[in-house]
């Protein structure tokens, strides 16, 4: 009967034939066909409960599995093979179990019983198969079920079984740390063994235990002398062919021991002391002609750095790494850089000595090595070497792979800020980054660059000229264009200034400057953010370049029909400033106050941007609150301010404005809206002031200028002497006769600048006076700039206003003190 059946079903293909057939398939489809056919046959055979060819079929299935085809239907067959008494069956069965099962599958629980039986089998090779499988697919349940058996086997006198059991215990502890207790007694004596397999696995187990529990670590500290002795024997004993690897005695064991010593000596002076000598010996005696010697030295460096070792030993360790850096083998160089990076904080000076070698690694053909070298280079920059290092890093930035560029830029800028020897160098470095790395620069660099230029008032002329030159030669780099646009807008009047040391003066006409910005604005490849910067810059230039304002107006008006809401809004707002509010324009477009220090962070843009907006809105509302503290009817005054703002904006954004109610809330909403208009894809941090908020920033600083804009009261000329003209724009606050707000505006029509300008005012006792801080202390010649200051006056008795003035300034190095009195205030203010 059986014979007949066997004849009727063909003999399954041999594994070798199947492999051959699969390999000869010409296409993936062919291969799939062969595999599917074979799988079908194998399934049939499994279904028929065929015992003879089960082993062969499972082996074939394992091959098919490796090719990526599903083979889970073989799992139960593996169990059957394991349960077989034949060694071949068991061998393939366990192999299949290791490949097809893992602890996530419930089937593997079925295997536990077979394992338990085989662990106590009298044939050591069957025990070994069970141990090996346990080591590979040891789950939590299996660990608990078989931990006892494994513990017994650790005590076996057979080294072959012992070492495997020790590694199973290692696996069990990794999986279920609370089973550790069970193994500690058996582990103690393991280091007395001679067999290297047992020693090696024992060290592994002790390492794992010490890492898992501080108590055990403490317990095993007393093994240090024994470990030292084993290590000593290893390096002192002569050549032993069995464990030798290119002239190094059992590197596998040496490395494991060194690692365990590191864990035992960590934060323990006594243990560290015990191992100092042997570490020095191994470090000096290891043959380094081959990789294997380096593997040991590498481990020993980590150990020396990880324990409380002597200073001399630490220097030795860093020098070993220094030698690694000069090695021809790229793997060794990589490891050295990686390790130096880990130890640089602890042994800064020792690492510093290898700086030149490290910097040379920036030119390594291997990208992984370059990546490590760049990290390490940044870690090594300090006040003394910043110039040299930066030169190298900027060179690197020029040629490095695109993936490095943006981080590299941010790091260079951060390091430059931290260690710059002087402002000029700092600005030069940041400019170089902007011109070198192009569009890879992240938004944070733009913010930092603008802030840097802004806060370095002595170099405004230099910065703006350099940026102009850079932009002229390349308008396609967005971050550069943004910084340049901001600076040209802000300091446009300095573009032809001659007092820039050792630089050729730049001779450009206003038209050239405007044309350049216009080109950036018109360029299709310019980002919207860049265009926003440019349009604001052009607006600012309208007050810097008085003769070109018609042309500027034309350019700006053009964008009133831009499809981009942001640009359109700006354009419309700015155009309004040319017509309806032309008298306000110079005041609004004054120089920005110094940007307050911004943390030079490299956090991603969007959150920061939000923060900035909030920050700004906060300070804004505070500002309003302060100016109007004495005013009982606060909302209506603010309403005035907001009416202006919203009026200006309305045509562009069609935001429904709320004319009454909490004015501050309106504006915050407005800012919020604009903030969220910025598409998040621009990975650009918007600094608080340089961008779309510009137009609001001026009203923020001088809210009452705007109030004044709607006033019909005559302008009071408070002082006019030697070119210095001081005018008062007065306004009743909230239509309250007891409150007056005066905007002081000072201009200089003489040929020379006035510096250290200070304006002071005094009133009779029946008044109260509150002077806010001025917009600046410098008056540029030829009416090309001004200083404004807000004066708040409380006049409870509604008396005619009189005021005494004191004015101090320095012109051409000569201090000037002036006094004056004003009594020509319009009576409407208090009547």
């Amino acid at each position: 009967m059986n014979v007949l059946k066997a004849v009727s079903t063909p003999v399954p293909k041999r594994l070798r034939d199947l492999i051959r057939e699969i390999r000869s398939s010409r296409t993936a489809a062919d291969e799939r066909a062969v595999v599917n056919k074979e799988c079908a046959t194998i399934r049939d055979s499994f279904r028929d409960q065929d015992n003879t060819y089960r082993c062969r079929n499972v082996a074939k299935l394992l091959y098919i599995h490796m090719l990526g085809y599903p083979a889970h239907f073989g799992q139960l067959e593996c169990m059957k093979l394991i349960a077989s008494s034949r060694f071949t069956d068991k061998r393939i069965g366990y192999l299949g179990a290791m490949l097809l099962l893992d602890e996530r599958q419930d089937v593997h629980l079925l295997i536990t019983n077979s394992l338990k039986n085989d662990l106590s089998h009298q044939t050591q090779y069957i025990q070994s198969l069970a141990l090996c499988t346990l080591g590979a697919i040891c789950s939590t349940e299996m660990s608990r079920d078989l931990a006892g058996e494994v513990e017994k086997m650790i005590k076996s006198s057979n080294a072959y079984i012992k070492k495997k059991a020790i590694l199973c215990a290692f696996g069990i502890i990794r999986k279920v740390p609370d089973l550790m207790e069970m193994y500690i007694p058996a582990t103690r004596s393991l280091l007395n063994e001679k067999n290297h397999g047992v020693l090696l696995t024992a060290v592994c187990l002790i390492t794992e235990m010490s890492e898992k529990s501080p108590d055990t670590l403490h317990h095993f500290r007393k093994l240090v002398p024994q470990l030292v002795r084993i290590l000593k024997n290893l390096i002192m004993a002569g050549y032993s062919p069995e464990h030798d690897v290119s002239g190094v005695s059992d590197p596998f064991l040496q490395v494991k021991i060194l690692r365990l010593l590191r864990i035992l000596g960590h934060n323990d002076a006594e243990a560290s002391e015990t191992m100092n000598d042997i570490l020095a010996q191994v470090a000096t005696n290891t043959d380094t002609s081959k990789n294997v010697g380096h593997a040991i030295l590498y481990e020993i460096v980590l150990t020396i750095m990880g324990i409380q070792s002597e200073a001399g030993l630490r220097v030795l360790a860093v020098n070993i790494l220094g030698r690694f850096l000069l090695n021809n083998d790229k793997n060794i160089r990589y490891v050295a850089l990686n390790t130096l990076l880990r130890v640089v904080s602890a042994d800064y000076n020792a690492v510093q000595r290898h700086r030149t070698t490290i910097v040379d690694c920036l030119k390594d053909p291997d990208i992984s090595i370059r990546r490590r070298a760049i990290e390490l280079s940044f870690a090594l920059i300090n006040h003394n070497n910043v110039r040299g290092m930066m030169k190298e890093l900027l060179l690197f930035l020029e040629t490095c792979d695109p993936e490095f560029k943006s981080d590299c830029c941010s790091n260079i800028v951060t390091a430059a800020a931290k260690y710059s020897p002087n402002k000029r160098w700092h600005i030069d470095t940041v400019l170089k980054v902007l011109t070198t790395a192009g569009n890879y620069i992240k938004g944070d660099v733009v913010t930092i660059a603008i802030q840097l230029v802004s806060e370095t008032s002595s170099l405004h002329a230099y910065s703006v000229q350099q940026l102009f030159r850079a932009l002229r030669s390349d308008i396609t780099q967005q971050p550069l264009a943004q910084v340049a646009a901001w600076c040209i807008g802000e300091y446009g009047e300095l573009i032809n200034s001659n007092n820039v040391e050792d630089e050729e003066p730049l001779h450009v006409t206003e038209d050239e400057v405007i044309s350049l910005l216009e080109r950036v604005l018109a360029n299709n490849n310019s980002a919207v953010v860049t265009k926003e910067y440019v349009i604001t810059a052009l607006m600012k230039l309208s007050s810097r370049f008085s003769s070109s304002s018609m042309r500027l107006k034309q350019i700006i008006t053009l964008y009133g029909s831009s499809t981009n809401v942001e640009l359109q809004q700006r354009s419309v707002e700015y155009s309004n400033l040319f017509s309806k509010f032309d008298h306000l324009r110079p005041a609004l477009l004054e120089h920005m106050p110094l940007i307050e220090a911004h943390p030079h962070s490299i956090e991603s843009g969007f959150n920061e941007k939000q923060d900035d907006l909030n920050l700004l809105s906060d300070s804004f509302s505070r500002n309003i609150a302060r100016t109007s503290v004495p005013t009982p009817s606060l909302p209506s005054e603010n309403g005035g301010i907001f009416e202006y703002l919203t009026n200006g904006i309305q045509p562009a954004t069609h935001i429904d404005t709320i004319k009454t109610g909490g004015g501050a809330v309106d504006l915050l909403d407005l800012l919020g809206d604009i903030g969220s208009d910025i598409p998040p894809i621009h990975n650009t941090v918007l600094p608080p002031v340089n961008d779309l908020l510009d137009s609001f920033m001026q009203p923020v600083a001088h809210p009452n200028n705007i109030v004044n804009g709607t006033s019909t009261l005559p302008v009071v000329t408070a002082f006019n002497k030697e070119g210095l003209l001081i005018e008062f724009f007065c306004q009743r606050a909230n239509n309250d006769a007891t409150k007056t707000v005066i905007n002081m505006k000072a201009t200089n029509s003489s040929l020379f600048p006035m510096v250290d300008f200070v304006f002071q005012a005094a009133v009779p006792k029946s008044f109260q006076l509150n002077l806010q801080s001025p917009s600046g202390n410098k008056l540029l010649p030829n009416n090309s700039g001004n200083v404004t200051q807000v004066i708040q006056l409380s006049n409870p008795q509604k008396q005619p206003i009189r005021m005494r003035l004191r004015i101090n300034y320095t012109q051409n190095g000569k201090a000037v003190n002036e006094m004056g009195e004003v009594s020509t205030f319009p009576p409407e203010l208090w009547q």
Binding site: R16, L95, L167, D366
Partner: protein
């Protein structure tokens, strides 16, 4: 501790996979695909290490085969190269100048060898001789267990235990 070892050809065909930590089959396939692509894309002048997730990948090419190991952060990558080399030496001794075809047609033997050298992701035996001795003894045991079966088996005749 080594987390897994993969052997694959220059054409990206997997030849051997040994996992010492539990992953789902789907994850294993994904990792394998990802690493094969990563390693094959590396140029010869690049170093043998790469950082991948929280693991270190150490690979080395022997003729047409790549040996690729994933080790943990504390492990020694230079020593891992020695482990790979030792494994290659063992295969070489066993097959007699091993080539990719040996490993394809005798993949189970390559696994048996690995299981005598590593266990649970750690080296269990540093003596080449001991590993080869254990393999030879098991091969002998296998031959003995197969002996009762005659050549007839290959022709489909059931001889032995089940033939009643």
């Amino acid at each position: 501790m080594m987390q897994f070892m993969l052997l694959f050809s220059r054409q990206g065909k997997l030849r051997l996979q040994k996992w010492f930590v539990a992953y789902q089959d789907r994850t294993k396939k994904k990792i394998t695909r990802e690493l094969i692509t990563l390693v094959l894309a590396r140029k010869p002048k690049m170093c043998s290490f790469l950082e991948w997730k929280d693991l270190k990948i150490v690979y080395k090419r022997y003729a047409s085969l790549y040996f690729c190991c994933a080790i943990e952060n504390d492990d020694n990558e230079l020593l891992t190269l020695e482990i790979i080399h030792r494994y290659v030496e063992l295969l070489d001794k066993y097959f007699g100048s091993v080539c990719e075809l040996d490993i394809i047609f005798n993949f189970e033997k390559a696994y048996f060898m690995l299981d005598e050298f590593l266990l649970g992701g750690e080296v269990q035996e540093t003596s080449k001789k001991n590993v080869l001795k254990a393999i030879a003894a098991q091969d002998l045991l296998q031959e003995e267990s197969e002996e009762p079966k005659s050549f007839l088996e290959d022709f489909g005749f059931m001889v032995g235990s089940s033939g009643t």
